[in-house]
Amino acid sequence: MTIKRFPTYLREMQEQIEGYAKDYGLDFFPILYEVLDYKTMNEVAAYGGFPTRYPHWRFGMDYEQLSKSYEWGLSKIYEMVINTNPAYAYLLEGNSLTDQKIVMAHVCAHVDFFKNNYFFSKTDRKMIDGMANHASRVRRHMERHGQDVVEDFIDTCLSIENLIDPMSPYITRTRAPRSPGALEADEAQDNSGRLRAKGYMDSFINPPEYLEAQKKKREDEAKKAKRRFPEQPARDVMRFLIEHAPLEPWQRDCLEIVRDEAYYFAPQAMTKIMNEGWASYWHSKILTQKALTAAEVIDYADANAGVLATAPGRLNPYKLGVELLRNIEDRWNRGQFGKEWDECDSMDLKRNWDRRTGLGMKRLFEVRKLYNDITFIDEFFTLEFCIDQKFYAFGFQERSGNWEIMSRDFKKVKDQLLKQLTNRGQPVIVVEDGNFENRSELLLRHVHEGTDLDGGQTRDTLRNVSKLWTRPVSLLTRIDNKGKLLRCEDGTLSERNAEYPP
């Protein structure tokens, strides 16, 4: 990568745009722009926006696809920005000045979002260094153990990179075990299931046999709980494997690297709609209200329309995000919220509802701070919005072999939308038992929420998990409404019926 000096006219443009953005109240990390030619742009994009990643063929694959798609004129990367402090953003060399203006405004809002949205608050803002460190660690392993071996192993790790617990940085899943002292105190206070009784009734209400039975029951329970491993089903399968799979130190290190990066990128997937909506909202506001000259209006409108275009059977997060944010702004400006609004049944009244509360902008900034895509849609995707924006749910029609519009019913649309955002659209897989059937086999369970797993991929992935665990691995899931237990032993797969849910 050659470092080109950032041209003066772009620097001036940056100062101007950032000035406007700050006036509107956006609050962002310092932004460093780099102008890249399309080849370098594709390279950086293949590396997820980072200048250095560990060596792996899939970056090469992404690069080839990006380059081809660019050469054939199918797609072009206008802009890229990464979540670091200072934030790095890339501009494509040869873009028109209008385009660069849009990109800069867009980037300001992205960086504002990175800085202020709660779900980015736990990410490493020095991830450029983080990624470079990962790269040198992997390189070192490759030099010691051979490139093929390490790369193969990383393939295996990447195969489960979606099996993390994206909410875990923000909540406590498992309470710290109570101290043994407290437990004993409990014991002393209430010895073994004694029912409360007055002294003279005690020998009748709590006869010795009963107490004995109670004590045994509790011991059994305690034993059972102890035997359960993990005690609670573990959402973070990667972490479970890091902690418990019999791995070589370098293997464990690779798995940790892949997991770290998965957690770093997770918030982006959790806030795609909001983040892109927020950026689109601000680029259009800044440009149309401040930054555009008369000569640029048509070019701007063209580019903006491209960003917000919708196609049948595809959800454009930019479009959904920006429209919903504008809807929120409008509602809070006109006081369309609160108990009175919620309870109003008259469409006519609602349509002309205007309390001149003027809280729109304030509300927008709150939303960008506290919400992620799921809570955002759940709270603000209303019936009126759904109708107004012509949303529909689609599905695969077996009869015709086509994808068809299934429904325009508000509830169905919203359910579908929430479903596909849940867990970033990934299936939830948990570690159910690390000592399955007392043979140190691993039992995973698919938490079935209405959608079966993709069969072929599931089998290949299961093979990879069993490579990590080195002992047979089973997966409990449901296929066509029947419980199935898939088992992989030494690379061979078997399948049998099983109880689901267990």
Binding site: P55, W57, R144, P312, Y392, I405, Q420, H446, T461
Partner: protein, 369 residues
């Protein structure tokens, strides 16, 4: 300009090569790959090499869209993107990836798969073909290649970082992790001249299918030999009862009718060698394809004489490929075997059909001459 991505991209291409190797026969016998003018790359569909993950199946999942349309309206089958249009099924590897690859590279893959030996160049000027170049630094290597300065620089850097470096008493002790070694790469420098003379029988008995087979086979032979020699020359001769030299395009397209005098082609070939390609400096490869039906026993006799006197002494290899044809007698290959069975320079191969092309190529080139 070299980019970091080049390494990863190279790895990806390597994986692709492996995939292609597995399905090579299928690609090789596809005729449409060749004969495209001005295009030296082909696009072939490959089973996806992407990493498997636990994912939702497509069909039950559905999605949300925005825009016009009534309930029941089709969203079409032919769309890109993750959902509509992708025919989902649970067979692995049914997502196809279109890969562009140069024909040159494909020929190399073929060479690897068939275990074709690298051809030994002949000629008096056997210039050194390989050269080692020291081009980089690694963290592993033999002690004899240790890079003294880099090693100590690294050690110093580490000691400064650890706070154990004292400028007043600058003692630097490298540990294993500090050691740096020179690394090298081997650069091949091939240098030799080669000419291929293709001869094809275009008499009435060679049908379209036979022509197709010859076309595909000679295409791959040509490509493989090109990958072995720089600046290779090709000459094309067609013959029925008469022989004439033509350009590449005509060679593959002509269909004539009439009798067959193989000797006419051999005469022309011998003349070509004598006039233009002195055997001391040229590697010469005549290839002849026919359905094995010659006009007369006398002519066959002439052919054998020509081969013995005017062709074989000068060439690296004389290859004869006989395509099975419903009309031909297939006699010629027997005559050749009878006369040249113990001659290493003559290779014959019977090509039964498209599927046999790979084996035939192997027979021709397997000796590495």
């Amino acid at each position: 300009m070299s980019q970091k991505i080049d390494l990863d991209h190279g790895r990806f291409r390597q994986i692709i090569r492996g995939k292609i190797k597995q399905n090579l026969r299928k690609y090789i016998s596809q005729g449409e790959m060749i004969g495209r003018k001005g295009k030296d790359t082909v696009s072939i569909p490959l089973p996806s090499v992407d990493i498997p993950r636990f994912k939702h199946g497509d069909k039950q999942q559905g999605g949300v869209g925005q825009g016009q349309g009534d309930v029941g309206d089709s969203l079409g089958q032919e769309q890109d993107g993750d959902q509509p249009g992708k025919q989902a099924s649970d067979r692995p590897g049914d997502h196809l990836l279109d890969i562009e690859i140069s024909i040159q590279e494909l020929a190399e893959i073929m060479g690897e798969e068939l275990a074709l030996p690298r051809i030994q160049p002949k000629g008096t000027e056997k210039i050194v073909a390989f050269k080692d170049k020291y081009s980089g630094i690694r963290t592993t290597g033999p002690e004899s290649l240790r890079h003294f300065r880099r090693t100590y620089r690294q050690a110093m850097r580490r000691q400064i970082a650890m706070g154990t470096y004292d400028p007043k008493n600058p003692v630097i002790v490298p540990i294993r992790e500090d050691k740096r070694y020179r690394s090298w790469r081997t650069v091949p420098l091939p240098q030799s001249n080669a000419v291929i003379i293709y001869m094809i029988d275009v008499s009435g008995s060679m049908g379209d299918e036979q022509k197709e087979i010859v076309r595909i086979e000679s295409f791959w032979l040509d490509t493989w030999l090109r990958s072995q020699y720089h600046g290779i020359e090709s000459r094309y001769i067609i013959h029925d009862a008469m022989a004439k030299e033509v350009d590449r395009d005509t060679f593959f397209k002509t269909r004539e009718s009439g009798g067959t005098m193989i000797s006419s082609a051999y005469k022309l070939c011998a003349k070509m060698i004598a006039d233009e390609y002195p055997s001391e400096t040229w590697n010469i490869y005549p290839f002849h394809f026919s359905d094995g039906d010659n006009w007369s026993v006398d002519d066959t006799h002439t052919c054998v004489e020509l081969l013995k006197k005017d062709i074989l002494p000068f060439v690296n290899l004389f290859a004869y490929g006989q395509v099975e044809s419903p009309y031909g007698s297939g006699q010629f290959i027997k005559d050749l075997t009878e006369h040249f069975d113990d001659d290493e320079r003559v290779v014959t191969s019977e090509i039964k059909g498209k599927d046999a092309i790979m084996d035939s190529i192997k027979e021709f080139l397997g000796k590495g001459k």
